[in-house]
Point group: D2
Chain length 342, copies 4
């Protein structure tokens, strides 16, 4: 931690800050500069609450050197976390995983049809929403627990693993019962009550990055889950909000590469929500694998025009097939095979 | 609604879109242009789900003309909503209200001390967090229901109304029992499960704008609460995220003026969270009243350096006094007095 | 300056950084922490180029404590710069100035008509574009030097001062000859060749903030002009780009208050370009004065619907009159009168 | 074009808008809705200036259906533009090109050393700045024409083509004389005077996207160059500004894929400026090729720590070698070979 004093800070101000640092149990090292004095804090810990110091007279800025997260960091645990699912798929290892399925579960018949497409494409994880957080209260809100039962049926029929979203503690309990991975959506990334809850469920959790969350905030949100006792956390980059409305969001490809250096948790990319356009899904999925993601999540539907939600960003079955081939070639170039059903 | 076709769309594509529009119960009016054809949809309704049409071959874009929200709009209800609290304070009327208090409730003794400062300054609403959504799991998370009881005690002692934050359904029930206004924080603006829950509690709700929520998304979030049966909703602009880290957030002053034209709901400004710096609070509070906000929310503390959270953005009691005088002069210039305890 | 080492940096890495710092002429103070070592640099100067150090093995981050700008800072010159124009208007002093006029000069007849409106409203500075930087090559690009001559004529007729934009060195020379203030537009804020050129012209320059420029970059751009020998620089906040398309830009009101603490240069606010909507201009202009701007710039036109550019954000003459009264009341509340023609 | 009326617009307002549309030479088609009327404009052209209509009473919004750019669009010219350089490298064809070199030309000896590294890696285009637009006036500003001469010498020695930046009309003339491609930097993307100037030089121009320019603004800036008579324009995505300071910029990978559908011009990606970190350059370069870029631009230096600028984002020669192999594999998977010297 570094405390930067204002240009006009008096020797008394500096002495007071040093005293306050000492009271927190750390050593203070003043460094006079031409413009102003900075005070280094030796032996600092990420959990220091700087608000007492930030408010002292003559303090201009407090700069943290240590990352505020701990258990999620590579410094805490150097080797990558690998999460193994019921059907043998391993996320975070050398293989690149593909999650595919409809935006929402709409009926058993339709879901079984999609699950077949997913299994035939070679993907190993089925996605599909039973609880849908929608921007408008007038949009379709999902089938709830009925949808979960349908997902479980499709899983059993095709040997897939299942990932689906929870939106509050009650739905998280239900998802934990029926699915392999509990997804936390971007809008709930800082719903801390929910994070603490899923931290106690003992099921893998996939945490999507908030639309305008910094990488640090994203990792701190994951830290909530680990801190509650659940180490099986997967991160998912799904695009960030920018000034340009030409695409729904901007896929932050660098965040995938950067997060890999900062955390041991697996990282998935979601090109469909990042772009919102079917014709952008394949190129961005390819880029995600090329940059080093541990997997991708895409939407597919036998007849996208009939989907109740997000049809325009769903791949046709044949597009999914083509994409699988391209991803396989790119990941092979990087020495990583695609995960397959055994 | 306007459906814009691609440059190369065929007459069959156009006919198919017209058919789909007709099937939804609307009239289609194709308008051929030099570059491409656009198809107008007559008699459209805001609840139309456009995803079927967006996915049809040859469709480039679907543009919505109607706002997607309804009950919150000035078109639905022209006169401004006025919310009257237990102590007679009216929010959304001609008077400008001031909410003040500590960031968090830390002890009965300290809160009573702040409440006295607040009452003496002339502000009529006491703020103070009992449940704190914190970015880091290692930060102080609030006193919970004990904090609520202390707030209620302070309210009774000084004739103030009380506003405090809820973070999940359970805390919302508790807040609804002890406080006058339930606050929903920026990070929970799209926690739809929570919005539906507070929509059923029959208590005024103050909904903070998400850090990167568009005005449309903010109004749709409010629509969730109204749609659940609660019309007593107050909006709160608290700064948006930008590319510049010089201040914590950017106060979106224009959003206050613009929201006033779009919705009948009252709008409060929170300059402390928008700026994160004590010396910016007063200037931005003045600007908020000058632009037409129905009130402001600020933090104050007798000894900010001792506060457990957000001390650096808390006003000293004498700064609050000075600010109240400036706000009174500016609001008077606009024909609006400050609300006072009667 | 603070050099933060990576978690795994070796003692050799740390020693090498200390050596590199010493070679630059500074003293290095290593501070071991639990997670990593940070190295303080004592006696640092803002002009140090950190790129040699950033690239050394084991370096994670270099944090600058000193601001990179110098001549524009309050630390360099504590008292506010006041710029006096030919007609006696003083910018940056206690008075609040108003600049008004059409977006573009379209003809002598029209400009004289607007200039009359401006003078009668009480504003003292006439604005109007002769060189227009337009996003599309197919939009009206301005009258050039003919427009400048018309502006000079209006100035002489009504005793106003004149501000108008330059877009390259040649136009800057012409503007310097005919106008009182040379305006550099947001899109040219980092056109360093132009900044250096106007730094040599000896005329006041108003530098608009780039649409996504940080405050630091804005001040560094101003530093270019001062460093070239011209101390008469006025800053202009005109709105920044955000994720919400509801308004053209977001007026960064806090930047006005913050810049005042960082620099001695006067600061003007431009609510018309920040919002792009006539009905938002007056509220945001009021907020700008309330937050502490030294003046505002607005557009006005006798018949906005006939304007060749930016008509929709131009005030009707009677709106300008009303605004002047409101601004006068708000600035009076802050102890600052509006500047007037003597 | 679609004119959306306010909820309360009168029949007279609507009639006036229809009249105004007719006066502009177009046909108006009013479409009454439940909430409001929209008026379609048939036969519209992208050059219509909507400001007259936007300011009419009762008009809420004007929505453009046609893109405002023309000559750069795929609708204007369906086949991709291919630009052939003096050394046979073709940009925009099936081959993927690599541009590499130091950030700045620092001396003949050093540049020759880098040029050798570049040629040996298999890249065909040498980059290196002779004119440097720097945020601070106190940073190294480049060697100017001496740097250009050195670049030309290296080109002749190794059979490379040369790209280097121009910052004003004078430097553009010089660059046009010595180099194969004139680069316009992000900060000058809307320096329209410079765009018009390079539009007349008859040399290929590479136009970097502004840090917060929309794709539409970027294409309109390119339109300035084409409209001035120069069709040899290359676009370059170099990262956009976001809210997260974890990386210098965010590489907008989707913009590369989207621009490809909108324009026939070649698109290059610059991962070094997008990320600012050496360890992110290779992953993001791979992603750029995977998403479909026509080439990439990277920085390399035999001893990055000694570079006068941008050393920390320069690749070591062996890193460049490794990257070339990975890029070759990924582009092959997409059916595109890397361009090579023949």
């Amino acid at each position: 931690m570094l405390v930067v004093m204002t240009h006009g800070a008096s020797p008394e101000n500096i002495a007071d800050v040093c005293t306050a640092i000492a009271q927190l149990g750390f050593e203070a090292r003043p460094m006079p500069g031409e413009q102003r004095t900075a005070i280094g804090v030796v032996g600092n810990d990420r959990r220091v609450d700087d608000s007492h110091i930030r408010g002292l007279p003559g303090v201009s800025q407090v700069i943290h050197v240590s990352a505020p997260y701990k258990q999620v960091s590579r410094e805490w645990k150097a080797e990558s976390t690998v999460i193994e699912l019921s059907n043998g798929t391993r996320i975070g290892g050398n293989e690149v995983v593909v999650m595919a399925g409809p935006c929402a579960v709409e009926s058993e018949e339709k879901l079984m049809e999609v699950a077949k497409v997913v299994a035939e494409s070679g993907a190993t994880i089925l996605r599909g929403g039973a609880y849908k957080p929608r921007t408008s209260p007038y949009s379709f809100q999902g089938m709830g627990v009925e949808g979960l039962k349908i997902l479980a049926k499709a899983r059993d029929a095709y040997g897939l693993a299942v990932i689906t979203e929870a939106i509050d503690p009650a739905s998280a309990d239900a998802v934990g019962e029926y699915a392999d991975i509990i997804q936390i959506g971007a809008r709930n990334m800082q719903n801390f009550a929910l994070l603490k809850h899923v931290g106690q469920l003992g099921k893998p959790v996939m945490l999507k990055r908030g639309m305008s969350a910094t990488i640090k905030e994203w990792l701190l949100a994951a830290e909530y889950i680990l801190n509650a006792g659940n180490e099986q956390v997967i991160l998912c980059e799904r695009g960030i909000r920018s000034f340009d409305s030409a695409t729904r969001n901007v896929m932050d490809i660098t965040a995938v590469a950067l997060a890999r250096t900062l955390t041991h948790l697996p990282i998935i990319a979601d090109p469909a929500h990042a772009t919102g356009r079917r014709d952008m899904v394949a190129p961005v999925a390819r880029a995600s694998v090329a940059v080093g993601a541990d997997g991708i999540m895409v939407e597919t539907h036998p007849r996208p025009n009939e989907a109740l939600s997000d049809g325009p960003q769903s791949l046709y079955p044949e597009q999914l097939q083509t994409l699988m081939v391209q991803l396989s070639q790119i990941s092979s170039a990087l020495g990583r095979p695609l995960a397959t059903l055994t």
